[in-house]
Structures are given as structure tokens and as C-alpha cells.
Symmetry: C2
Subunit: 403 residues, 2 copies
């Protein structure tokens, strides 16, 4: 059984539109069990807050406001990108002992799971009685074990709606449009652009995910073929695309403390691809001026207020509550994962060992993409994606107009 005492909750890594649903899921489940969770504390900026002693006391928060916070995108406790070192863990344990912390819930992605795992291992080694849970979130949808990740559905909804609008824009003024979508190693979010295809010939007409090796030559050839056929072309490109053996398309500059390269917050890849396409078209179709543009969706896609998937919000809340239920049921540590049931779609939660989620991520299976590597396999992927995103805004065309 869980030793009664203080519980500490933290958020870590990039924010999502529903990460606060998970936070409030944990918080409310803890507040309902005051005999077990004698104090409910939130660490500000994740492990940094634990080390510095910066906490929010949730018993002092207004319950009605907690619901507003749950519906607010991004990390209400503020976030951090820090892999806890052995030294960090010593400091964290000192604080946990001082506060009599007996349960720790850390909401985040694979890096956050790794930190949770390290703390769990250290606690075991030190013989310190601590329940240690990772609650998943990531717009990248690249955590192992789970069917999908809280935060992905809402980001995918943003991407789908963005491509719906951009397809309409491109249809209206024609030309070629390249959109760069987030996703460091996994193409899930880029693949979700396919949900924007509502009517015949709707874009995106080409989709490039990191799971298929990227070739600039094939990219130009593919885009030219669509452009010649439709007079326009909308292209989804993952920020994580690379050539064979991981060869970079352009040089990127910064690396964070987990060794992740900076891919977002710069328009460089999109501008490079647009320039390459312009040069290609000037060569193969020299008799015409070509309109080629690129947008980089950037940080907008990960926590846009008002563009939230209802199932994503509900499941993020469930994941938080499930972690507390697991901890009070005698499970000592783990990460919450989703198992999917279809027809009708529903999920159930289960606990998977922290080691199975920590550190490594899971890309899409290569066979979820088409053989040419310039599109998804719609028959396989759309049934997976659709319930995670939910209904999209209705769009229509005049009947008397072609294309």
C-alpha cells in the first residue's frame, strides 16, 4: 500500500493543449483522498521547482478555477527541459524527505519518463518508499507502448484545420505551398495533415515523414507532377525529414540538454525547400512564373487555445486520474498507457513499466506510409487518426466549379 504523505506533481517538456487536463486529473484524484495524500503540491518548473523548493499548494486553490486551468493550454505549473542527474536526484530526495513526499507524478514525454525512471531507481536503491508515476503527453505521439499520447489529438486537429484552410487558399490562388510540421523523429503529426482531404483533389497532395528517407530530387519531381496535373500543390513536410542514414537536409544550430536539435522556431527548412522548388520549376517550366511559398507552423500547433480535440481533452484527464488510482492500488511505479478498442472507439488505461517508455521514442511503422514515401497509407492510418481528432469544421465547394 501507498504510504500516506505528501504528493508532488510536476510538468516537463514542451507544452500541449491538454497537459493541464492531466494535471487537474491528478490533482482532483489526490484531493479526493486526503487520508493518503496529506499535502498536494505542484512543483514549479518541474524538477527545478523541487530542487529550489518552489511549490504550489493545491488545497489552497479555488476548485472552480482548477477547471478553468484544466481547459487552458500549456503547462500551468510551468515546465522545464532537464534530465535529472545523480546530483539532481540527491537534491530531489533531500527535498522529498524534508516534505515527507510519498508519491510523485511527472507529466511529460519520453525525456520526462526518463527523469521519472531515474528518480524511481534512485528511490529504490536508497530504500525510500516512493510511488513514482509518469503521465504521458506529447504532440509527437511517439511514446512507446501506448496506442497514442495525450496532446497529439489536439495538435493533429490544429494541423488538419491548418491544411484545410491552406488547401482552400492554394485552390483559390494556385501555386505550390510547402508547410513544415513539428515532429522530431516521428511523422504522426505530419501524417495528420491527411485528415484535411475532404473533397476530391484536396491537399495535402504530398506528405513527407521522417520514417521514409527524403530525397530533394524526388521531392521536386513529385511536386512538379502534381503541379502539372492540378495547377497547384500543397505539401506537408515534417521538420524531422532526413536523407539516407539520417543525413541532414539543412544544418541546424542548437542542441538542448537531452541532445535534441532545434528544428522549430526557424523558417529555414521551409525557405530552403521553397527556394529549391522555385529553382527546379524555373528550369523545367521556364515559360511561366511560379508561385512557391512555405510556412512553418512552429509553436502555434502545440497549444492553440480553442482548437482542442474533445477526446484528447477527456483522455488526458483520464490519464492523470488513472495514475493516482494505480498508485493507491499498490502499484509502485509506472507510466500510464492507452489500449484502444474500436467500433465504437474507446480507450482503457493500463500501467506499463517506466523503462518501457523512458528515453527511446517510437516512430511510425514504415508501412503506414506509401511505398514511394511521399504520402501516407490512408487505408491504414485514417481509421487510427480520425477518432483522436474528432469532427472538423464543415467545408464546401460550389457544385458548378471544377477542382
Amino acid at each position: 500500500m501507498l504510504t500516506p504523505g505528501t504528493v508532488v506533481i510536476g510538468q516537463s517538456g514542451g507544452p500541449t493543449a491538454v497537459i493541464n487536463q492531466s494535471l487537474i486529473g491528478v490533482v482532483k484524484a489526490c484531493l479526493q483522498r486526503p487520508e493518503t495524500f496529506t499535502r498536494v503540491l505542484g512543483a514549479v518548473h518541474g524538477v527545478n521547482g523541487i530542487m529550489k523548493g518552489e511549490f504550489v499548494d493545491f488545497t489552497l486553490e479555488d476548485p472552480a478555477n482548477l477547471e478553468v486551468v484544466a481547459g487552458t493550454p500549456s503547462s500551468a505549473l510551468k515546465s522545464v527541459r532537464r534530465k535529472a542527474s545523480a546530483e539532481d536526484c540527491t537534491a530531489i530526495f533531500a527535498r522529498f524527505k524534508e516534505l515527507d513526499v510519498r508519491a510523485f507524478f511527472y507529466i511529460g514525454g519520453n525525456d520526462t519518463a526518463e527523469t521519472t525512471h531515474i528518480i524511481d531507481e534512485m528511490a529504490k536503491k536508497a530504500g525510500y518508499d516512493l510511488a513514482c508515476f509518469h503521465v504521458p503527453k506529447t504532440i509527437d505521439n511517439d511514446l512507446r507502448v501506448t496506442d497514442h499520447c495525450p496532446g497529439f489529438g489536439s495538435a493533429a486537429k490544429f494541423v488538419a484545420q491548418a491544411f484545410m484552410g491552406d488547401n482552400l487558399d492554394n485552390r483559390s490562388l494556385s501555386g505550390i505551398k510547402v508547410n513544415i510540421v513539428m515532429g522530431r523523429n516521428a511523422g504522426w503529426l505530419t501524417a495528420a495533415s491527411a485528415l484535411a482531404r475532404i473533397l476530391p483533389d484536396d491537399g495535402p497532395h504530398l506528405i513527407y515523414c521522417p520514417e521514409a528517407d527524403f530525397s530533394l530530387e524526388a521531392f521536386c519531381r513529385d511536386a512538379e507532377a502534381v503541379y502539372r496535373r492540378l495547377g497547384r500543390c500543397v505539401i506537408a513536410v515534417s521538420e524531422g525529414i532526413h536523407g539516407p542514414g539520417g543525413a541532414e537536409i539543412i544544418d541546424s544550430k542548437e542542441v538542448d540538454s537531452h541532445g535534441n536539435k532545434q528544428l522549430s522556431g526557424s523558417g529555414a527548412l521551409g525557405d530552403f525547400l521553397a527556394d529549391t522548388l522555385k529553382a527546379h520549376l524555373a528550369k523545367v517550366m521556364p515559360d511561366k512564373k511560379h508561385r512557391v511559398r512555405a510556412d512553418t507552423f512552429g509553436y502555434l500547433q502545440r497549444c492553440f487555445p480553442g482548437v482542442v480535440s474533445e477526446s484528447d481533452a477527456r483522455e488526458a484527464r483520464m490519464a492523470g486520474a488513472a495514475a493516482v488510482v494505480a498508485a493507491t492500488s499498490g502499484v509502485k511505479s509506472g507510466s500510464i498507457a492507452f489500449r484502444r478498442h474500436d467500433a465504437p472507439y474507446r480507450i482503457e488505461t493500463f500501467v506499463t513499466p517506466l523503462a518501457t517508455v523512458a528515453k527511446e521514442t517510437k516512430p511510425m511503422a514504415r508501412d503506414l506510409l506509401n511505398a514511394a514515401g511521399n504520402d501516407i497509407d490512408s487505408a491504414k492510418l485514417l481509421p487510427y487518426l480520425t477518432p483522436l481528432v474528432g469532427p472538423l469544421p464543415p467545408v464546401g465547394r460550389l457544385r458548378g466549379i471544377s477542382g
Copy 2:
């Protein structure tokens, strides 16, 4: 009185989220008056469709589908960027005579008003009986005479929500974030980022519009000051910023047939400002690593499905219907404009001569910005902006956390 005959409707210029509301506003008002408008035609790709003879016959369209089209962003008739030359007008008149066109409604911005104006003048010279109306749209909100422009409110809502999300993101992971907002000559859309300020110290903390001369030095100094005070900074920058006398910040490449430079569809300005800030901070705060990122909102902001201002949609529809009412009331030509009444907010439409709207645009008055040119004057601008955008998604913070 309006001579009974065919009516032609077209859309021109960049699309908006509500330009089809105006289209369907015109179409339904015409379909209700079959004795006056014997045929109701839509020109595909604006004047191009007239010259090529590519039309949609609205009497053959399904009325229920017209409502779906009205709610669909971007130009359902497809768009064009073309200033009608004297030669073009000869071709247009030949077509109008062939089809017995007696009314022409052209939905677009100042360039579209100019084309409408040229056609109207040519018709008068040729003694051809034609009602010629411009129905306004532009996300830039820079048309003269009217209080505001259909399309602006929805784009402003997107910008406001984007900044709400980005402010939450920046608050969670800190650093400096620069966002480039559309608006060639007018800062209205960039100014609308101020609506994202809901709670104390919410960003954007700095706002740069083209109406105030931009200085890189002042920009770095301003950003550094906010960053030192809050540990973070969110900055809204118009794509149209320039130094004294219109000096360019970076070189842009392409120019369209109206002489407009390509500002969107590239991340170059944002990347340049972020790199400049990084270099500045490395010099003045060398003891710390600084996280500086830039996003360019690009085409997303002008026709994003699902992020539509209700008042904008309603007013865009009104503008379309008002043009038809004016035409059937004996007015020969003009542009539809809005007059605002406050407390409670409502608008009425009126007709202004085409020459008062064509060609030239209207920037914001300089005194709607603060003296330093790094923010808006909130007391003056927020009451103007708020009713155009309408309610924003609720966001909240934990009470026990500072900043």
C-alpha cells in the same frame, strides 16, 4: 433604375475566412430578385474568368450547399491578382455585352476596388449601362472610408488566439519569442495581438507596427529590458516594418503585378530578428544561454477554418447583401462601407464612391500606437478591436504561482 439582365460576381485578391459570406450575401440577394437579375453568374478566378468565359450559374446551385460554402474560408469562386488593363476591359465589355450583364459585384481589397473602378469608368465612357460595386474584404483592415473591413475580425481572432497560446507556451518554458504577423502597410492585425493580454504580465510584451519607424537597436534594447524584468518576452512584429523613409529591414525578393512585395510565405524576417536578438543577448548577458525563437504566422492567419469571428461573418454577409440593395435602389456604382455605433456595438452600411476606396490604403493613425513605437495605445485601440473579434477562449492560471 437598374436595367434587368445578367449579374456577374467575382472574388479577387487574398482570401479571408469570411469572403464567401459576402459572396453568398450577394448571390442570395440577387436570387431573391429574378425580375432584375435574370441570370446570376459567378466568374471563376475573377476578371480572368470573365475574359475566358468561365462562369458558375448560381441558379443551378443547391441552396443548402450555398450555406455550407458561406461558412467555408477562402474564395469559393477562386481568386486572381490582376489589375484590369485597358485591353482587359475591352475584353470584359465584349463579354458583358454578349451576356447582357447589367450588374457587376467584385469582392476584394483596394486592388479589387481599383479594378472595379476602372471597369466602372470604362462602362461610363462607353455609355454601357452597368451597375458596378465593390464589396470590401481584407484581413489587413486597411481600406479607406470604412470603419473596418470584413475578414479582419476573423484574422484578428486567429492572431489573438495564437498569441494567447504562445504567451502560455513562453511562460511555461521562458526565453524570447518573436512572431511575425501579416499586414503589408498597416499594423491592424499585429495590433490585434494585444487582445491576447488577459492576465497580468501576459504577452505580447512588445508590438511593432509599420506605422512607427523600426530600429533594430531599439528593438534589442526593448526586448532585453522585458527579458531582464520577466525572464521571458513575447514580441509581435508586423511583416511590413521598415526603418525611416521606408528603409527595408531585410531584402525581399518577389513583386506581384500590383507592385506589392512578397512578405509572407518566408520565415526570413523572423529568423533575422531572432538571430539579431541572440547576438545582442550573447553580448550583454554573456553568462547565460538564451532561448530565442521566431515563428512566422504566414498564410494560416487569413483563412483558418473554425477560428471565425461571429460579428465578422455576419457583417461580411451584410456587406454582400447591401451592395445588391444599393444597386437595385438606383445607385450606379460604389463600395460598401461600415459606419460604427457603440454601446451597444452595431454597424450600418453605406455606399462610398469607388475612387475613395480604390488603389490607396489607409494605415493606422500613428497616435493609436504608444510614443516609443513599441506597443499600441490600449485605451484607444482595444475598444475598437474587441467587438470585431468577439469572445476569446477562457484561460486561467493557478493562484499560487507568480507571473
